[in-house]
């Protein structure tokens, strides 16, 4: 299957601030092929979540999507009417959030919150909604689903809550699931279970955009990976290529900063410095001030994302290769 489910073209998101306009997402383009899990990696604040929010129309004011297009199966989301787009969400695209502790309404029963989605999109009656929710609870691996239906969120563990969130996102069988750091707030064993569940969902036909800063998670789950830095995509490659032969110095740095149990290293390698503030981006390449290989050219001009035969990279150094 090589059909494009979601295409993002030159997406820009802007926020006015006291220090001038910033662009947390700057001309980002990415594609999700039908039936795949696509990864989006980057440090905190690089614009990963903002990209996802743009797709879900959840950008907080005063921020705004100022450019580009988002196409779902060729339909431009930006051209849709407000109601049409709203009703598309939850039915064709849905999203799960990072923190399952705060993603459920504390004063509403867990099951009722899932019911809401079906009743909203399919107009099902209460009894039928309840039956389907319980079915979905069982499908996402919630033990004793009948009892959990009537539980309040504070009576559920973090892992269970994330499963409820997934049930909520998946109940209408959407084509695309956006998972924004779905396991960051969970402990490792629960993380493994949730990832397994997501793999099962993909086998069931749902494409997934997995946003994470955890390269281990990405390596395990994804086929295609986009690396984001300071609002831009800096590298895009298949998972094998990316891990075996990273092209961009930032990706190389990220991979070196992963601890390995096999090798004995005295000190964990890090990328020096921090992600630059968006209102004081360095001239030229955004990574140039932290890059060990930066040249005069890197500090003067900004490299564009270029096709390198099956992969893309935004770095001048690749010219020499």
């Amino acid at each position: 299957m090589d059909e494009k489910l979601l295409e993002i073209e030159d997406l820009c998101v802007e926020f006015p601030t006291e220090k001038g306009k910033i662009r947390p997402v700057d001309r980002v383009s990415l594609e999700i092929r039908t039936g795949t899990i696509t990864g989006l990696v980057g440090e905190s604040g690089c614009g990963k979540s903002m990209t996802a929010r743009a797709v879900m129309n959840l950008i907080k004011k005063p921020g705004k999507m100022t450019g580009g297009r988002i196409l779902l199966e060729g339909r431009d989301l930006g051209q849709m009417g407000a109601k049409e787009r709203r009703l598309l969400q939850g039915r064709e695209i849905s999203m799960i959030f990072q923190d399952p502790m705060s993603s459920l309404n504390p004063v509403m029963k867990a099951g009722k919150q899932v019911d809401e989605v079906i009743r909203l999109h399919e107009g099902t009656d209460a009894g039928e909604a309840r039956r389907r929710t319980i079915e979905m609870f069982a499908a996402v691996g919630i033990p004793d689903p009948e009892r959990r239906y009537d539980a309040y969120p504070h009576e559920l563990s973090g892992g269970l809550r994330q499963r409820v969130m997934i049930a909520m996102a998946m109940i209408c069988k959407p084509k695309l699931l956006i998972a924004d750091e779905p396991t960051t707030a969970l402990d490792v064993t629960v993380e493994a279970q949730i990832l397994e569940l997501m793999e099962k969902l993909r086998e069931g036909g749902t494409s997934i955009l997995l946003i994470s800063h955890n390269l281990g998670v990405i390596a395990r789950m994804c086929e295609d990976v986009y690396v984001m830095y300071a609002g831009k995509i800096v590298e895009h490659a298949e998972i094998g290529t990316l891990f075996a032969d990273p092209a961009h110095p930032y990706t190389k740095g990220l991979l070196r900063a992963v601890t390995s149990l096999q090798e004995e290293t005295a000190l964990l390698e890090t990328i020096p410095g921090n992600v630059p503030q968006l209102y004081e981006l360095p001239q030229g390449c955004r990574f140039s001030n932290r890059c060990a290989f930066a040249t005069e050219r890197c500090r003067a001009d900004e490299p564009a994302l270029r096709d390198l035969g099956g992969r893309e990279c935004a770095c001048f150094l690749e010219d020499r290769a």
Binding site: L58, G90, R91, M108, L120
Partner: protein
Amino acid sequence: MKDALRRMIRANKLSLVSLIVIFLLILFSILAPWLTPYGEADMDLMHRLSPPSAEHLLGTDEAGRDVLTRLLYGSRVSLMVGIVPTLLSMVIGAVLGVTAGYLGGAVDSIIMRLADIVLAFPSMLLAMVIMYTLGDGLFNVFLTLTLMNWGTVARIARAETLKLKTIDYVEAARSIGMSKGRIIMRHILPNCIPTLIVLFTLNVPSAILTESALSFLGLGIQPPSASWGLMVNTGRQYLFNAPWLSFAPSGAIMLAVLSFNFLGDGLRDAIDPRLRRR
């Protein structure tokens, strides 16, 4: 809610006592006609201003009416005045405040400026102006108190909404395509309720006191109907030769006001831990 009540009763005996007192007050006001042999306006001019006795437990007033009887009937007015307009202003304030907070922009500005106008006016003066224009009577007292109180409620509901609006579950609801109205009904309002309940118990005594003050000024309930405020007002003229006339209703006001305040305190303490856990 049931949990909160149970927790309150366990932690705070005073609030339990308050709850019982409020319950009894309401019960007595309903059962008033069966509790006393006298009518609300039955005059007995032979026994004017008689001190408390076995026949008249709290004495009689300047027209020979039984003070206890009037106190019981008066509690109907005073409790209604405490509860009805407070409830009305809660509903109006909550709906307007939540709408303003959630929608923002021009709607927010218009609603909140209206609230500011109400809040900026000295409340007693506002009440007097309204009552003077509309005339007295129970309905107008309700109207006045509702108009006076909705602003505060709206402010608090709006603040709560602004806080809730950015919480993940509201975003999650938006991400699954819920409409604004539904989000407000399902997610925002239910989460404002603990705060509003506490506000309710704090506003009830203030409404009772305002009615008392209005009646005292001759703008509230008119004789021969009784209300606690009105009774204090008439009793004032006989403060030295018949002190029971003003002491009895004053005591009743104090009891009701304190009970609602203590109940409010207890409820707040009981609900707070849940807020912190959230």
